[in-house]
């Protein structure tokens, strides 16, 4: 269970989030929905300790997000950023950077298969493949880490309709994962168990 209790966040005088609360039960998916600048990505950053709230608290599986507990919290989180233009040249480099062990590499092949990434494509340099293919590789790599909570920022931004369907089946229908995403994509948002509307 993830509890967001009365969270507020400001950048200088600009209030991004004001006294926001919500509970996300284990195995559920929630999509933060709202216009640009409504604080969707900031909320994800708060959950990973990249932003510090001006007030309120976040509790993940009974652990309070704090300086002391940040490593415990991050152990549970897999993160798929919006900007998939990571300065990484190919799949092997990505796997090495994430220190995937043999078991995790097996899982990577499983998820790659589910996301329709064939071996030839996985051997290519990232500059030779499309943004959507790269995004699916990053998703497969993060899924193979087997973390119970998955945070995703605009996970479908570079994907075609068929790939979005695959991703919904693979991630949102997997009830062992708690999925928290920020998205503009209606199809993706509607496939979540919960939608949290954020206003500007």
């Amino acid at each position: 269970m993830i509890k967001i209790n009365n969270i507020s966040l400001s950048y200088g005088e600009e209030v991004v989030l004001d006294n926001l609360s919500c509970d996300i039960p284990k195995g559920q998916s929630i999509c933060f929905w709202g216009p640009s600048g409504s604080g969707k990505s900031s909320l994800l950053k708060l959950l990973m300790g990249f932003e510090i709230p001006s007030s309120g608290k976040i509790i993940i599986d009974d652990i309070l997000l704090s300086e002391e507990n940040i490593n415990e919290i991050r152990k549970k989180i897999g993160w798929i950023p919006q900007n998939i233009n990571l300065p990484v040249n190919n799949t092997t480099e990505l796997i090495n950077l994430l220190y995937l062990d043999k078991e995790q590499q097996k899982k990577f092949r499983f998820y790659s298969n589910k996301l329709e990434l064939d071996n030839n494509l996985l051997k290519k340099d990232f500059h030779e493949i499309s943004g959507g293919q790269k995004q699916r590789i990053v998703i497969a790599a993060v899924l193979s880490l087997d973390k119970p909570v998955l945070l995703m920022d605009e996970p479908t931004s570079a994907l075609d309709t068929e790939s979005v369907d695959n991703l919904i089946n693979l991630i949102l229908k997997n009830k062992t994962l708690t999925v928290i995403s920020a998205s503009h994509d209606k199809k993706w948002a509607n496939a979540n168990d919960l939608i949290l509307h954020l206003d500007q």
Binding site: G49, I70, K75, G78, L86, L97, L98
Partner: protein, 263 residues
Amino acid sequence: MKAIANIDTIHLIIGYSILIIPLIIFWYFKIKLTKTTIIAVVRMSIQLLLVALYLEYIFKLNNAYINILWVLVMIGVGISTTIKRASLKPKYFIIPLVLALFSSLVLIDAFFLGIVLKLKYVFEARYFIPISGMILGNAMNYNIVGLNSYFEGLIKEENLYYFLLVNTNDNKNALLPFIGKSIKKALSPLIGTMTVMGLIALPGMMTGQILGGSPPATAIKYQILIAVAIFSGGSLNLTLSIIFSNLFVFDKFGRLNRKIIKK
């Protein structure tokens, strides 16, 4: 072996006149380097003149405390130059860089002067000062390149750092690609220089020793040891500088303070 040909003042001035070549190149291609070059040459000449006077005096005294003080002054100047040229903010970097440079120098000096050269008195001015100076000067240059690449890389490729920080849940794993890239960038030129040393370039120290009357075999042995000392000292100093700096530039959430670099 014949004594080295002396350079009198007139011929020293004639020697300077060769600088007309780069100055004409700058003027012809409208490259704004004339003023900087003149300042650099004047500074170099004054600094070396002063060093010659100091060293003559210091060598005569050969006092450990004065020699150590001299090296400490070199460390201070080296650190302030590194911070300035790598565009870093002093308040975050003075302590880590002093600690890194000081510990690297102590270790490398102790090893080469004490163990390899078997000096009974490691603070012997004619060994301690020039060898420390060569290690310091080179270590400073590698640090400028390495630290600049490391922190600029972290700021520019912040998304990779945060991606790895969360997904590997390990600060060290998240920093490894940046540390590797920085050390590679800083040390590659010296690896290249060592590869061709003696073939297409005769190192300054060896040439100086030969001109000063040392047999080439001795000069070469010193040159090899100096190259190894410079490489080891430079890599140790850069690695320690990064490790110690990391304690000052990240908060407890692993977030990088973006204000560490001057815009």
